[in-house]
């Protein structure tokens, strides 16, 4: 039960980082990564996964 970011697609805009209700996303080196231990897929918080909803590039925040 977690999402991941496809690094080669990501533009590092960082919108997912501040939309994530679990604080699961951070910039590590050049890439944003989702901590699978913290990611809840936004269950109980929002009806859609926030990272995938806000990401400007299709198929970049996807189920792990």
């Amino acid at each position: 039960m977690a999402f991941k970011i496809i690094a080669s697609q990501c533009t590092q805009c960082g919108a997912c980082e501040f939309e994530c209700p679990s604080g699961a996303i951070e910039l590590k080196g050049e890439n944003y990564v989702i901590d699978p231990k913290k990611c809840t897929e936004c269950e109980g918080a929002f009806e859609t996964q926030q990272c995938a909803s806000v990401c400007p590039v299709p198929k970049t925040c996807v189920p792990a």
């Binding site: 533009t11 805009c13 919108a15 939309e19 929002f46 009806e47 859609t48 909803s53 806000v54 400007p56």
Partner: protein
């Protein structure tokens, strides 16, 4: 014609502020108009005070003052069909493009470096590459830091408007006097063709529903800003076949809601940029179509015609981009602000622009007095200061003026590829310049070689380099008077 010969250019490039002050002092109120204001007659003093140093809000100010954008806001909450944030190129000049994203701390270092080196700097703006209001924490942190170090610099933002209403009060508190909202539609049916989705209240909306939300938020934000006396510039992207006719209605809506300025810009849709419009072959408007639409909007909200569609990390006067000189690797880790360069420059400008305004109105009166028949399209090579001070071969753009019985009006600019590089002129480049100057009668420049001059003459364009360092309008009026057979002495009597 006794326009003083001080060059703002030399003032701006003087290495020390002492030099600059010497330059400034050598221009000791030669004109009888000393102290006169450049304020247009139809503008109230409070508004003029807000725009007089902002190159984007005042065509007059853009000859003297420079802006810089700091790219601290990469995150965006909507998708536009003309935007692709995945793509970047160092040599491109278009909104949304940046070479490096900055943290607020890095942005402050960059602003201080530029303020020390570019005395014309008067505005620090945040224009993406994402949305300045959505990426609010970084926008706010940057403005607070900059305002603490350089209190007199103007702060300005550009936004799509979706998150704008949430931050209007904070913008007002932070003395942000200028906000640009990009509004491409007031009809959500048309909006749905421009915006594939928006992200609002924690979910993604698509189609007409998305465009409706965006439209309502844009109008609300505009009204809230106008109510607080914050000047709003509306940017609209002209997309042929999608919203070109519709922009007349957009103009009416935004004028009714208090927009100060409307800037209609041509769509940029090179397939190489990888935008939706680029890939689907949506064409950009031709220069003549843009001009025709601007002509039809003349009676609505005041139009901006000197926009260069600059990068989200542009630095310098509007016609130039010195961004590459100020990337992080060129900036020391520790910088401290030295206000002397900017202060000395402002002193020169305060004096200079009064003289310029007087010379300009004199020139316009002369052209009006010259008779009912004339019409002249003039291209000017300038590097700022309102004077003819750029070599033909060095120009990267020409400013276009129309002289007619109605006076002298700035109508736009045309970009060209620099013809002369290191002493060599390239024939193929010159061909391109000549094409770009289609319809122009006369080119005014500081200097031009015999060969390009002849090539231009063969194409029906006269190049004149005998008005070097003269004010643009003064030179145009003299050319105009000669052209239409008016005796200069009686013309000015």
């Amino acid at each position: 014609m006794t326009a003083s010969m001080i060059s703002l250019d030399s003032s701006a490039s003087a290495k020390t502020s002492d030099n600059r002050l010497t330059n400034a002092k050598s221009d000791s109120c030669k004109s009888s108009s000393c102290g006169s204001t450049a304020k247009p007659d139809d503008m109230d003093p409070a508004t003029w005070e807000k725009i007089k140093d902002h190159p984007c809000y005042s065509e007059e100010a853009h000859h003297y003052f420079a802006r810089m954008h700091v790219a601290v806001a990469p995150a965006c909450n909507i998708q536009c069909n003309y935007c692709n944030r995945k793509y970047d190129c160092a040599n491109e000049s278009r909104p949304g493009v940046v070479s490096e994203k900055l943290t607020p701390e890095q942005a402050l270092r960059k602003v201080i470096s530029v303020a020390n080196e570019v005395p014309q700097l008067s505005v620090v703006g945040i224009a993406g590459p994402g949305d300045a209001c959505y990426d609010w924490r970084r926008t706010k942190a940057t403005f607070e830091k900059v305002a603490a170090e350089i209190p007199d610099v103007k702060l300005c933002i550009s936004t799509n408007g979706l998150a704008l209403p949430d931050h209007v009060d904070e913008l007002a508190r932070m003395n942000v006097d200028h906000v640009t909202i990009t509004i491409n539609m007031v009809d959500p049916q048309i909006g749905a063709k421009i915006y594939p989705w928006v992200f609002y209240n924690h979910r993604r909306y698509t189609g007409i529903e998305a465009a409706e939300i965006l439209h309502k938020r844009q109008m609300l934000g505009l009204e809230m800003l106008a109510a607080r006396g914050i000047l709003v510039k509306v940017n609209s992207v002209m997309i042929p076949g999608v919203n070109d006719e519709h922009l007349i209605e957009v103009n009416r809506w935004v004028k009714e809601r208090g927009a100060f300025l409307h800037n209609v810009m041509p769509l940029i849709s090179d397939p190489a940029h990888g935008t939706y419009y680029g890939l689907t072959g949506q064409r950009a408007p031709r220069a003549i179509e843009l001009k025709a639409l601007q002509g039809r909007l003349e009676k609505g909200a005041k139009l901006m015609r000197h926009c260069r569609q600059c990068r989200a990390d542009a630095v310098g006067l509007l016609g130039e981009d010195r961004g590459k000189e100020f990337t992080l690797d060129h900036i020391p880790d520790a910088v401290s602000y030295d206000e002397r360069n900017r202060e000395a420059y402002r002193e020169v400008v305060a004096r200079e622009r009064g003289n310029h305004a007087a010379a300009k109105s004199e020139a316009i009166e002369m052209v009006k007095a010259a008779g009912p028949d004339g019409s002249l399209h003039v291209a000017v090579a300038t590097k700022g200061g309102g004077r003819i001070n750029e070599h033909f071969g060095h120009a990267k753009e020409f400013q276009i003026y129309e002289a007619s019985p109605r006076g002298i009006a700035f109508v736009g600019h045309r970009k060209v590829e620099q013809y002369c590089r290191g002493g060599w002129g390239d024939d193929a480049t010159l061909d391109g310049v000549i094409v770009a100057l289609e319809g122009i009668d006369i080119v005014l420049c500081a200097k031009i070689g015999d060969c390009p001059k002849k090539r231009l003459a063969d194409a029906g364009i006269r190049a004149v380099d005998s008005y070097t360092y003269e004010y643009i309008e003064t030179a145009i009026s003299m050319v105009y008077a000669t052209e239409f057979g008016v005796d200069l002495l009686t013309g000015t009597a």
